[in-house]
Amino acid sequence: MTIQANVATGDKANDAIIPGTKYEILETARRQVLEDGIGLTESQLVEVLELPDEALPAALQLSHEVRLRHCGEDVEVEGIISIKTGGCPEDCHFCSQSGLFDSPVRGVWLDIPELVKAAKETAATGATEFCIVAAVRGPDIKLMNQIKFAIDRINEAVDINIACSLGMLTQRQVDQLAEWGVHRYNHNLETARSYFPEVVTTHSYEERLDTCNMVKAAGMELCCGALIGMGESLEQRAELAAQLAALEPHEVPLNFLNPRPGTPLENQGIMDGKDALRAIAAFRLAMPRTVLRYAGGRELTLGDLGTREGLLGGINAVIVGNYLTTLGRPATADLNLLVELNMPIKELQKTL
């Protein structure tokens, strides 16, 4: 009898996961997100993140449909570069550029001719965005002057949108960047508010939000990203997606932790690829209209196959080539993949 009872239960469980089975949260999302354009709530996102592996193809398919319906078929390609690497006074526990950890990354400044050369090379890949990044708490006058100079030299040499990521800004700095033609500013939330104190102690979530809000108010596009796989719970991952959605950023770069030697998170395991794909689906279902960009760590977490699945599961932008301190897939691998998937690269619409 006991055995029979167990068998019966097993059959029931199996019934729930046969292909084609409807998952209620996906049915809801189809109406709410795809048809009505309203992102999922935090509690709904938890349901997506808890979907079984068998439901993953359906979730990714729906996210892909949402992306096509609300963003179109274009993929936005961006290159990023570090103008000032290492020696940052902040203590973000995932970051090899913090000067507070025993990381092998040395402090170094890129000179402007190299920067212009990189902008040209980036534009030649078809990229429309070039993001200049500095490992700082916030810019000082020297950095602001360098940025102004860099923007002018790049604009003389090549047609590409210039974005910046220079840490926390004052109102005056926000206004200056906007005036100089920086059309997008990156400042990440990184993780959920409830997990943030575990990861960063030298500044607060509020300070991050302040910069994000000033950037938006000044008319620049806000690029506000996530870094997942740092040991946060699924609930916190959903919380992060909901907190990002509330900010309504133009773009969300999605990073997966690549544990860096010498940092407090160096022994954190690499995130499971299926969890990463569930997160991609969830982020798209939270933010139907946002540019959702593949950023760092995807090579490790997802590999070639996962990269393709994500592009067919809600992602509609990529960072092409290398990152700030680590290497990406060859640019040609991503560009060829876009051709193969029949996804056109978004063309430059320079807003000056």
């Binding site: 092998p104 050369k117 090379e121 290497l327």
Partner: protein, 85 residues
């Protein structure tokens, strides 16, 4: 910039073939030098070096000044010059 070159040392991991690699470019620990089978520790380092530039000079173990751009990278040792992919 004094021109000493280490051809392809970085992208292929700790071993430099016939040239001398005293130290692992990834972790900075003494290299196996290719004489013995590569240890498990440095085999992982070799895998990592496909996905990130070397941080330590293979000749002297100094930390290098590394610059990464979207389509390339360079690593400079103050004693042994600039290394590119």
């Amino acid at each position: 910039m004094n021109g000493v070159s280490f051809p392809n040392r970085s992208t292929t991991g700790v071993s430099t073939g016939s040239t001398t690699a005293e130290f692992c470019g990834h972790c900075g620990e003494p290299s196996d030098g290719g004489a013995r089978p590569t240890s498990d520790v440095h085999r992982r380092c070799g895998e990592r070096l496909a996905m990130e530039p070397p941080r330590y000079c293979a000749a002297c173990r100094r930390r290098m000044k590394v610059q990464v751009t979207p389509l390339g990278w360079s690593a400079e040792c103050s004693r042994h010059g600039v290394l590119v992919p």
